[in-house]
């Protein structure tokens, strides 16, 4: 847990004083990712760097797990805090292995232990140790370097991590990949993380909580869903963007809006049966055809079922695409637009039909949370489903 208590930093510059952080009070709970977000110069980096005392606060305190860091020895403090800087900062004169092993070596791990650790960590971020351990940073792509920067910070297994725009220097596609990797890693490791970003999409994706800064002041500190549905003022509203309702889509997974489909037909059923089941179940448009293993193979539209006779197998349309329960609704909405569909079947890993997700279900979900009252925290669903 990281606690900022009235944390303030005033820089004395030639052009007068700059209050880079103005009485910041916030708390990052154990195991959560807190994203510091805001426009350039609002004090995100300054706030972050006061946690590991790269910058000394003018006033106020930082507590880590309840312990005041003010009088702690900076060297040992920093060895317990993983630090990823925006410029990556891999030491070019050291191999990847040496870069990753720095902190474990400094704190006196045995050689065999830190070498094993370096291999493990590389594997965690999908870099083959056999290839990369002995390479030098300049022999890696930007994205690979960034991954190494992150695992170097993780090497000695620090409980707390500070990350300053760690994925800033990568192209958007690779950034998504690394973000996903990092989230996966985080779900295993459960570090307490403070993460600076100026990209609202990144923040929404990564954060358990988002802290919005402006001119050195903390404006709003909330879960991504709360922030998007209840921006505190016009500044936040402007910052999160006019498409904030759409941004919320990526916070919700299919499993949360899934309508479990109880009525289906098989290829052997007649179209009349299909029509009957649609009526019974209240399906307006179509019914899904499954095979002997409950796998969706097609669908019968209501218009076909009412106008034609015969077996379902001969008259079904092919399914254009399916979704998975862990997909986020943004992906789903995009698929719906691409395939001009108002609903999509959702299948399990084995391909079994789990239900359908409908446009109406999505709209309903977003609308319902908009109306929920702010204090009613419990009703706001957690953003990530444990996988």
């Amino acid at each position: 847990m990281i606690t900022l208590d009235n944390l303030t930093k005033i820089f004395d510059t030639d052009r007068g004083v700059v209050t880079a952080a103005d009485h910041i009070n916030m708390e990052v709970p154990q195991g959560e990712i807190c994203v510091l977000l805001g426009p350039s110069g609002c004090g995100k980096t300054t706030t972050l760097k006061m946690v590991n005392r790269i910058i000394n606060p003018t006033s106020g305190r930082v507590l880590i797990n309840g312990q005041d860091t003010t009088d702690q020895d900076t060297v040992s403090l920093r060895r317990n805090i993983g630090y990823v800087i925006q410029q990556i900062g891999l030491f070019p004169n050291m191999t990847i292995e040496e870069n990753i092993s720095i902190v474990p070596k400094l704190i006196g791990w045995e050689k065999s232990r830190y070498l094993k650790r370096a291999s493990e960590l590389l594997e965690m971020v999908a870099l083959d140790p056999a290839i990369f351990l002995k390479r030098y940073p300049n022999e890696l792509s930007g994205g690979q370097q960034q991954r190494v920067g992150v695992i170097r910070a993780l090497a000695a297994d620090p409980p707390v991590m500070l990350m300053d725009e760690p994925f800033g220097a990568i192209d958007p596609i690779n950034r998504e990949v690394i973000q996903d990797e990092f989230l996966k890693l985080h779900r295993e490791l459960k570090k307490t993380i403070m993460f600076v970003s100026h990209d609202i999409d990144e923040a929404v994706k990564m954060a358990d909580r988002i802290a919005i800064f402006k001119d050195g002041k903390l404006i709003q500190y909330d879960t991504p869903d709360d922030l998007l549905s209840h921006p505190a003022n016009d500044f936040v509203k402007g910052f999160v963007g006019r498409d904030r309702a759409l941004k919320r889509l990526q916070l919700v997974t299919v499993s949360e809006v899934l309508e479990t489909e109880s009525s289906v037909v098989t290829a052997e059923d007649s179209l009349a049966t299909a029509l009957q089941r649609m009526d019974d179940a209240g399906y307006e448009r179509a019914i899904i055809v499954v095979d002997g293993h409950d796998r969706p193979v097609g669908y019968i539209s209501r218009s076909v079922a009412t106008t034609t006779k015969g077996k379902c197998g001969q008259h079904s349309y092919n399914l254009r695409t399916v979704v998975r329960p862990e997909d986020d609704l943004r992906t789903v909405a995009s698929k719906m637009f691409t395939h001009d569909a108002t609903w999509l079947p959702c299948v399990s890993e084995q391909g079994k039909l789990m239900g359908v997700v409908t446009q109406r279900g999505i709209t309903h979900y977003l609308g319902a949370t908009y109306k929920s009252s702010r204090s009613d925290d419990q009703s706001i669903r957690r953003i990530r489903v444990a996988t």
Binding site: N52, I54, T74, V75, S76, L77, R78, R79, I81, Y83, I85, Q86, Q87, I88, G89, L90, F91, P92, N93, M94, T95, I102, V103, L106, Y136, P137, N138, E139, R152, L162
Partner: protein, 214 residues
Amino acid sequence: MEILDFVMTNLNLLGKLTLEHIGLVVVAVGLATLTGVPIGIAITQNERIATVVLYVASVLITIPSIALFGIMIPILSTIGHGIGYLPAVIAVLLYSQLPIIRNTYTAINNVSPGLREAARGIGMTSAQRLRKVEIPLSVPVIMAGVRTAVVMNIGVMAIAAYIGAGGLGVLISRGISQSDPRQLVVGAIAVSLLAIVADRSLLSLQRRLTPRGL
């Protein structure tokens, strides 16, 4: 032809003088490296002191070597070394300070702020940062300074023959005083060749010392 004859008949002398010359330069620049590198590192801590130190070093290098030897004679005479080996080494040591201090200072100062911060943020003490990051990254530039010092002072050392320090300058000074163009030319060529060879070999040493990955 005459020159070649001279070389063939005086191979021994030539070898001895060359070794003497190399010995003088190596000792002097070696000592200069031992003093210049720490000074260069130390002055990165304070910009004002750095300016003063670099200024003094650049003034030193503008003093003509003959004048420097002249100044040292009365001073060093008090300990019985007014001429010879000691003043020659001291002169080269002083001349070498500027390239070595300046290159060290610049190299350490130019280590990128990102790397500095990473090293700090990781929890390295300032000694560890210096040893593991700043100095290794500065090696190529520091070595370039040493190279400059060596090449420059191979020439300076030739003049030290006038104060009896030995070395290839002996041939040149004798060539002049005895109006013997053979000795003069051989001495001059030998000094130039020595400078070129030293430059090449130090360059390859520099490459060898540069950490891989830079």
